[in-house]
């Protein structure tokens, strides 16, 4: 028992030391100041491999939750290409667009990882401006979604191989099917195209944009404007989940307070204020409600037959943590991952070939849930298997019933907490720390990505194991005791306050929209933007965010369509056909919209 905790502690210390070493290395590295980085083949290959890692739950489920996020992707690509500080800034900017990105129920609406890895590589390799990066990286994220269907279809073949191993009672064969056989295919699908695109694309993208800059500078201006507007989409997608109930006013409080302070605020400090406000809000709304007595009465251990040790349960958790999505596919989703996680349990509990084969087949069926919170199901199933092996009369149907009955509800609750609350808030604070409140910063701070890694690892490992263990200790009562304990609702409400406030701050810092239109009548000049500012600063960005929020949450317009519309609008709005006045007071032609 204690050995596991020790191992976990050692692993965490090693990770922290590695990250700190990374931080020191990043800031000590000699940095070229300007110009493009020449993309070597080795660099491109490493970037491709990193993208592949991000598409697997490798590294203790920190692949999809951490490596896949543009903030981290940009940091890693920056380190590989010798421009860490720039990489962090580029990644943070790209990530704003994907703040509200959620992959639920096996769908993949866009691909933040591709935008992060390839986008940062092209920007650094092509010597582009960071603001151009966003308009470039946004469409890249849409391309990535295309490979998803191919992966999900082709990986459907592998569970059938696992079926044959299960028939033979071959535990190791089932495990290998999950974590080895799909990997060469995923490697080819993910690493190779990205490595090639990064290697061949950098110079091409750079020269293409140079050509545009020379021949039609207004298109470049349009792309800059579009990148400032695209941030509204990332924030609006998040607000789709946040702007509701009685917590929506906190978005406007965050927005107005930040506007009053001129936009340059330290996001961590704002988040601390928001957390205190969230605490007060929860106290005010839920304050006097006591935890239901029923939940407390239920929260007691069942009598375990004692066939399994804590170490066995931990081994099963580790396999799920690393390989839950290794062979994710349309036919059985996480079915093979579930069977793989049960292999240490089956090995310990069952001795005859028939029993082993039956247990393997039992767990190879369709399964899909949220990997952290859904772990409670695995805990319960382990407890049921233990009782079954000890002689209790538990049918296959009873075990299947628990799995299929709970996987849907736990996915809903889990996605709300992990993808809807933990990841966006940790990302928002990480992005804020990385850029120090200035989206135009060209050099990012390593503390931002580090904060994100530590926060998410604490959730994925800490909460993940706790929930799993509760499932095992309490059995079926665990689900109701976890859901019923008033804590969950309080956390969700509090996170809603914090999330709204932080999104308000980010909206001011990242959404940029203004108009350079001006004209003079009879000697007096009218600058539209100055008039708007005297009414309320940042009015156009606020209207844009609310408009996009209304489109995505009330009108169900697809984010892809909005993304395309914003880029087109940004470029069209930059056509210089509108009256304007330059600094010297001379009448010129300007675009309708500016950043």
């Amino acid at each position: 028992m204690k050995v596991n905790r020790k191992q976990l502690a050692v692993a965490m210390i090693v990770s922290l030391v590695l990250m700190l070493a990374g931080a020191v290395a990043v800031h000590a590295m000699p940095v070229q100041q300007t110009g493009a980085v020449r993309m070597s083949f080795l660099m491109a290959a490493i970037i491709g491999i990193l993208y592949y890692f991000s598409m697997s739950p490798w590294f203790a489920n920190l692949g999809f939750t951490v490596l896949y996020r543009p903030l981290i992707a940009g940091t890693l690509v920056g380190i590989v290409m010798g421009r860490p500080a720039e990489g962090i800034a580029i990644g943070a900017n790209i990530n704003v667009l994907y703040l509200g990105w959620i992959s639920a129920g096996g769908s993949l609406p866009g691909d933040p990882g591709l935008a992060g890895y390839l986008g940062t590589a092209l920007v650094l390799g092509g010597g582009l401006d960071i603001q151009a990066a966003l308009a470039l990286a946004a469409p890249l994220g849409l391309l990535g979604g295309l490979t998803w269907s191919l992966r999900m279809s082709l990986c459907s073949i592998i569970p059938h191989w696992a079926d044959r191993f299960a028939e033979e009672g071959n535990i190791k064969g089932v495990a290998r099917s999950n974590y080895i056989y799909s990997q060469p295919f995923l490697f080819i699908l993910y690493a190779v195209p990205v490595a090639l695109a990064a290697y061949l694309g950098s110079a091409a993208v750079g020269s293409a944009l140079d050509w545009i800059a020379q021949h039609a500078i207004w298109v470049m201006n349009g792309l800059f404007t579009a990148s400032g507007m695209l941030a509204a989409l990332g924030i609006a997608l998040n607000l789709k989940f946040l702007l509701r109930g009685n917590v929506w006013p906190y978005f406007f409080i965050g927005f107005v307070v930040t506007t009053m302070m001129g936009g340059k605020v330290n996001l961590l400090m704002m988040a601390i204020i928001a957390a205190c406000v969230a605490y007060l809000h929860v106290l005010w709304v839920h304050g006097m409600e006591a935890t239901p007595a029923a939940a407390q009465a239920q929260a007691q251990a069942r009598k375990a037959p004692g066939l399994l040790t804590r170490q066995d349960v931990f081994k099963a958790w580790l396999r799920w943590l690393f390989f839950s999505h290794s062979t994710y596919n349309w036919e059985r989703m996480q079915g093979l991952g579930f069977a793989h996680s049960m292999t240490p349990i089956i090995e310990k509990l069952y001795k005859t070939k028939e029993d082993i084969s039956a247990a393997l087949k039992r767990h190879l069926i369709f399964f899909n849930t949220q990997p952290d919170i859904g772990g409670v199901i695995h805990g319960i199933v382990i407890a049921m298997e233990e009782e079954k092996a000890a002689g209790a009369d538990i049918s296959d149907d009873a075990i299947n019933g628990v799995k299929t009955g709970l996987m849907g509800p736990m996915a809903g609750v889990g996605d709300t907490i992990q993808q809807g609350i933990v990841i966006p808030i940790a990302l928002a604070i990480g992005i804020g720390l990385a850029l120090g409140g200035q989206p135009q910063a060209t050099r990012g701070n390593i503390l931002g990505p580090l904060f994100y890694v530590v926060a998410v690892a604490a959730f994925v490992w800490g909460v993940g194991w706790w929930v799993w263990w509760q499932g095992y200790v309490q059995g079926r009562a665990a689900v109701t005791s976890i859901l019923q304990s008033g804590a969950l609702q309080k956390v969700i409400t509090g996170a809603g306050v914090l999330g709204n406030f932080v999104m308000g701050v980010l909206a001011v810092q990242f959404v940029k929209l203004s108009t350079p239109v001006a004209f003079s009548i009879g000697g007096s000049t009218f600058r539209i933007q100055a008039m708007l500012d005297s009414f309320m600063p940042n009015l156009l960005p606020l209207i844009l965010v609310l408009l996009v929020w209304w489109l995505v949450s009330k009108k169900n317009v697809s984010p892809t369509l909005i993304m395309a519309a914003i880029i087109i609008l940004g470029v069209l709005g930059a056509i210089p056909i509108w009256p304007g006045i330059d600094e010297a007071g001379k009448a010129i032609k300007v675009g309708l919209l500016g950043g």
Binding site: A104, G105, G106, S107, P109, S149, M152, S156, G245, W330, E331, R332, M333, I365, F366, F367, N368, T404, G405, L406, G408, P409, M410, G412, V413, V479, T480, L483, Q484, Q489, N556, S558
Partner: protein
């Protein structure tokens, strides 16, 4: 399990669980202020029993149904047996518009198109 369903639903939603017969009886009754109700069911078989029991409807969405022996994937992670495909065809012929959609916001697929594709194969 009913308790889990209630606890997992977003706050403010009322969740009731009925057997098929009780559902037909309760939901067929004329009531004045019925709120918007979403009916969740486990399989196409249940959908047909409801329809034939007099609880008719004009549209039906098919969400994620797991695969298993005797079932094949017909659209993304939606699997069905030949019997279930026949049931859906039957409901379609009676005028029910059937769509396949697993996650809100994605593009849905018309069962009519899918059936034509399946037949061609």
């Amino acid at each position: 399990m009913q308790e889990v369903m209630r606890l997992a639903a977003p706050p403010g939603l009322v969740v009731d669980v009925y057997s098929v017969d009780a559902a037909i009886q309760t939901l067929s009754q004329e009531t004045q202020n019925r709120s918007t109700t979403m009916l969740l069911m486990r399989s196409p078989q249940v959908a047909r029993r409801l329809y034939e029991g007099g609880l008719t409807y004009s549209a039906l969405n098919v969400g994620g149904i797991g695969s298993g022996p005797g079932r094949r994937n017909i659209f993304k992670n939606i699997a069905a047996s030949d019997e279930e495909i026949a049931i859906m065809k039957d409901l379609m012929d009676r005028g029910v518009r059937i769509t396949l959609l697993t996650v809100p916001g994605e593009k849905s697929k018309e069962f009519a198109d899918l059936y034509a594709e399946l037949k061609r194969k």
